[in-house]
Subunit: 482 residues, 2 copies
Amino acid sequence: MVNFRVVTYILGFLLFIEGLFMMLAAPVSLIYDNSDAETIFYCSLLTVFIGLSFFLWNRKCTKNIGKREGYLIVTLGWVVFSFFGALPFYFTNAIPNFTNAFFETISGFTTTGASILTDIESLSQGILFWRSLTQWLGGMGIIVLSLAILPVLGIGGMQLFIAEVPGPTPDKIHPRVRETAKRLWGIYVIFTFLEVILLVMGGMNLFDAVCHSFTTMATGGYSTKQDSIAYFDSPYIQYVITFFMFIAGVNFALSYFALHFRFNKVWKNEEFRFFLGIILVFTLFITLNLVIDMKKPLEESFRESLFQVVSILTTTGFVTADYLSWRPFVVVLIFILMFFGGSAGSTGGGMKVIRIALLLKNSFLELKRLMHPNAIVPVRFDGNAVNQQIITNVLAFASFYLLTFVISSIVMSTMNYDLVTSMGAVAASLGNIGPGLGAVGPMENFAHIPVFGKWFLAFLMLIGRLEIFTVLLLFSPHFWRK
Amino acid sequence: MVNFRVVTYILGFLLFIEGLFMMLAAPVSLIYDNSDAETIFYCSLLTVFIGLSFFLWNRKCTKNIGKREGYLIVTLGWVVFSFFGALPFYFTNAIPNFTNAFFETISGFTTTGASILTDIESLSQGILFWRSLTQWLGGMGIIVLSLAILPVLGIGGMQLFIAEVPGPTPDKIHPRVRETAKRLWGIYVIFTFLEVILLVMGGMNLFDAVCHSFTTMATGGYSTKQDSIAYFDSPYIQYVITFFMFIAGVNFALSYFALHFRFNKVWKNEEFRFFLGIILVFTLFITLNLVIDMKKPLEESFRESLFQVVSILTTTGFVTADYLSWRPFVVVLIFILMFFGGSAGSTGGGMKVIRIALLLKNSFLELKRLMHPNAIVPVRFDGNAVNQQIITNVLAFASFYLLTFVISSIVMSTMNYDLVTSMGAVAASLGNIGPGLGAVGPMENFAHIPVFGKWFLAFLMLIGRLEIFTVLLLFSPHFWRK
């Protein structure tokens, strides 16, 4: 049987933490003299109170957390966080419609960044701060999830990294999660802090610098400006954000090594080199297209290409240019990038670079297998032969990802969105990117989507964020059986 | 070393056969009093002569045909056939541009059906007959290839059917190919003949009936009319063609069993049931959409839905309605159908229903594997556990198919075709369907594609038709090594 009491116990604790963070938005609101401070404070108090009640009520439960409990906590955690996280938006009347408030919040916690707001600058600083903070917290959550929890649960071929993750490698989840989490969060905080300093040095005010650093490191992409990063007409600021999006899209375990000057471990990492290669190739092609075909100046072309490529690849979703107004060639490249996603163990979404790399390697090796049917030809990664079970899992993941993409595109098309908009909205939600194509492109927003569509896309953000299997398992008979 | 002489020997023989078939178009031309009869006759004479020369010149070669020779014959065969097959179009001035003539011919032999013609009815009967015949011959070729040659070469998980194919199961390719081919071609001819009779009974003239029967059974889709099947404003004719497209999309081995009254073997075949299921579900959805959303009469909605679904699923590409003018929901469904393709061992292209079925089964079983990591959970098909090697191969195939689709869409977009047209043209060529989306939709044609684009799409038709691996292997170092 599933131990629901321990699930409630942990969720209560997490909710309590969320409430404390939410409380931070109240003084921010006060500083900027917003009228929202009081409402935000009451919302956070309610969250803290309910969280604490559940925590204390179940404190005597047996503390054994197995696979089933792990899956439940992870999935319900994101949902519960989003429900309570939506309260400040709703009660301050910043987003007076609850569906919209929930959409905006889960888009935050899943670090997607798809927004229903049509006039972001009209929101108070307190609310904007909370909006950015949801992404930063979501990023924290995903780091622990992908580097500490999922490997133990055996999800999505993540076992591959178990050796790479700094920290002890015990049998139980508990001590492992705690140790790993501490070290990775340290890095996360350091990078966020560094970005704030560099942005302020570039002339950005402290509030915007903090908010954008939150959403950069989470690869979230919420901006305090309607025009996103295009608002800051400064190459310096754009390069700084590009750099930190890049860092946030790399496995945080590698950043840990880099900060300990063990650069050879970084460079020897095949996923990292794939990640770098994708950025270079796509940036090169798009830069050339902008320079030759659209006669743009070289530096501007390079900067805009690099920014957009890194932003989409890492699934951040910041924009400095309307790429849909560029040539079809660029639009197709951007659309393809939407499926890659960041590295495993980063805050990025999507299918993850390592899975794409394994898929490609496995496919090309099949040519060798066809010529030598009796030879054993394993996929090698980082110098080691990869277990066939992991390959099968990665392939199943990719199939589910594409299947979800296909079925969801059909669902969106029933709302009379054309092929491009349907596919764009789904790819952007499932990949936790934010802006998509067509009517949900970088210069548009998700406000016009019908209520059902918003809940549906919110669900896609969730299953994309949780590596699909985590959520699918809950709907599978194998999960509930015996 | 590759035995090039035996490759030339076999290709010479096949070319000789092609020449003989081409010769048939000359009397057809004479009957209808066309001026093209003489030119067609000379073209066929040239083909026969060159084929025979190569055949006789190499008749003393060692006759051992291994894997390498098999791959080369299959790939080069289609290319050589198309070069010579283009001669009548070119020299009669029916298609005065050689790129266009080659495109039209390889689109015929690969049973794709994508056309560069803007006024089909202006062509002479002799030329139209040859155009339809290329598809019929291509269909014959693909039946032998997929049911007799590929299983022996170990391509694309086709080993799965080796037990299903009627005929002896020896070690050598030679007797197996001959026996299997004979039986399957018998069925192919019978069905073609039946369709001709049924179409003539419906009021179609003999010439059109023969041409359309050729291209139906090959799932080719070339019509003698610019408006395709929409020209024949007869529900009877549309239902007859639907039925034979369906038959042509089913594994011909199953038709063999059905003709021997062993219906239980047909019904127990899982791929067949998947195939049927896809047709039913998609037809139901589209019919409902047409009836409810577009207020069309029920029978017409059903007929048009069924026709388009079967035509696209079997990769025939006949049209009775401009589906792009329907709701986005339908367009998305049609686009998705373009990837399924017919059954393995049919004349249909695409990824093949069985591969999709295996992919889905394997993915859902992964959920079970995650909950029971130590259990061995094989995919079962037709009641048997499927070898893991076959699953890996199918997954590699699917990856290559999608990779080819993605890269090719990028290539098409460099010619400034928008995302939808780029993807549509590639999906339709790679899947051997014919009409795509956007500017290459069912009411359009491929004439406006630049020269490079035409050669590129022709290449896609070839690799799509030959199950990708066959062609890719020729470009792989593993093929040429040692």
